[in-house]
């Protein structure tokens, strides 16, 4: 565990120090941050929730709070991926699984729930032992790879582990997102059709 003393620091310093400590971890592990006000606890908690880190906080004494973040443990999904970072197995590559994200939500019903489910799905996807070879994003799904998407970090994590992230160019153009693509490459319908035809397995959440 890395200890961060952010007592007496005004926002955003506690968050900046904690982010640096998490970068130092370089993988799964915990960071404990001491702060002197509750607003800083709330800002740290917001960051942990957005990043998908497990987080707990407690008031040690008046004007002293402890926030502990644990990186690498899934916090909201039932997936039993454990604390290990994602692994790419040769078998996974060979199987040539293509994941198709055609909407920004998962399932039908409440959009609010669907959005949360999609975020959870992409997160869970990057925790799998066997990763897909390609993630295709089109129509409403195109927004997931763009600025402001809650799944951006998870998609970047997938890309960093060798998964091809391809977003439909026509769709980006249609939704005015062309300038906002933040992960992976732009693709066209020919490539989308080809990827799907060559897939040994297509996963559509």
């Amino acid at each position: 565990m890395i200890h961060v003393n952010a007592m007496g620091d005004a926002c955003p310093i506690p968050v900046v120090k904690t982010k640096n400590a998490i970068a130092q971890l370089g993988g799964p592990g915990s960071v404990e941050t001491l702060v002197d006000n509750e607003i800083a606890v709330q800002n740290l908690t917001k960051m942990a929730n957005q990043k998908g880190y497990a987080v707990r906080s407690e008031k040690l004494e008046p004007g002293k709070f402890r926030v502990v973040m644990t990186v690498g443990e899934p916090v909201e999904e039932e997936t039993a991926a454990g604390e290990e970072a994602c692994l790419i197995t040769p078998e996974g590559k060979k199987k040539n699984t293509v994941v198709v994200l055609s909407a920004s939500t998962m399932g039908t019903g409440s959009d609010e729930l669907g959005t949360a489910l999609m975020k959870g799905f992409v997160y869970a996807l990057c925790q799998q032992d066997t990763l897909p070879s390609t993630v295709l994003l089109y129509n409403g799904g195109a927004a997931l790879s763009c600025e402001g998407s809650a799944s951006l970090e998870d998609l970047k994590s997938l890309e960093a582990q060798g998964v091809e992230i391809l977003t439909c160019g026509t769709c980006l153009n249609y939704y005015g997102l062309t300038e906002k693509l933040r992960v992976g490459q732009v693709t066209n319908m020919y490539a989308i059709a080809e990827k799907m035809m060559q897939a040994s397995c297509i996963v559509r959440p």
């Binding site: 955003p12 900046v16 006000n37 917001k46 920004s104 600025e147 402001g148 809650a150």
Partner: protein
Amino acid sequence: MEPSIVFCRGGGCTAKLGAGVLSHVLEKLPKGPPDENLLIGYDSRDDAAVYKLTDDLAVVQTLDFFPPMVDDPYLFGQIAAANALSDIYAMGGEVKTALNIVCFPEKMDLNILGRILQGGSEKVIEAGGILAGGHSIADDSVKYGLSVTGIVHPEKIYPNNACQPGDALILTKRLGVGIICTAGRVAQASPEAMDAAIASMTTLNKQASQICREFPVHACTDVTGFGLIGHLLEMLDGRYSARIHADRVPVFSQALEYADEFLLTAAAQRNRNHAGSAVRFENVPFAMEEVLFDPQTSGGLLIALPKESAPALEAKLQAAGLPAAIVGTITEKSQEAILITK
């Protein structure tokens, strides 16, 4: 002996007290005998006080000062002055006189003070006002601002809470200067982002306010420390609801980037805590939520007017070079005060 009133503990990212603690303190103050000529006092939580002198003349009074949010003393002076002058514009008034408010350490270089006051006085002149004096205090940190007096016709005041259901809402400046300045303090803001934020903060709301006079404005406020959501809540006054389309809100793209890096202010979190359950977000990205709570220094005007008139006002503001946009509508009171969708 009655225990003395406990005021808020300071310290944080931006200097303004949270709306929650502030109303708590103000509620405890004694009220003198009412005066019908006081058209707007702090009961209405408006931007400035308005006192009627005659049937066609009222004075508008406001003061605003704060510690530096940028390194350059001259720019700080400009920003602090533009911010203080803005309250007159939010009332639909015209600036007449201004007095300097200065806190300055005795041992600091007086040239710095000179640069601050120079920036401030240039903005007063640009506003068409006269700098008529001031007051200074030796303090351990720098603070600067203005007390401004303006005039307005008593029947042409823009109250901050007289919006009507069906009104459209127009915002005249981009949001996100609070996050950008915060990122700047930890050396994580790009020069381009800082320049854009400074250009926005030094822009007077004079032009926007003047253009509004040609339109049937129901309500107007300037978006400052409580963020867009906080000031909109004041406008709704518990009587109406509003719907905001996040995609249409003018923002600095860098503010969204920095919010995604969690360069978050304490004040924005206080604003979030204060707004609490009054706001519901639907499919709004985290960074955009943060920007909507972001405290603005010298922010733009938020204007409510009949929706038929809104496109013409939006076009006219844009033609004047302002990044104005119709961002939402006032609705009948519903479950949540503010619904924010994509």
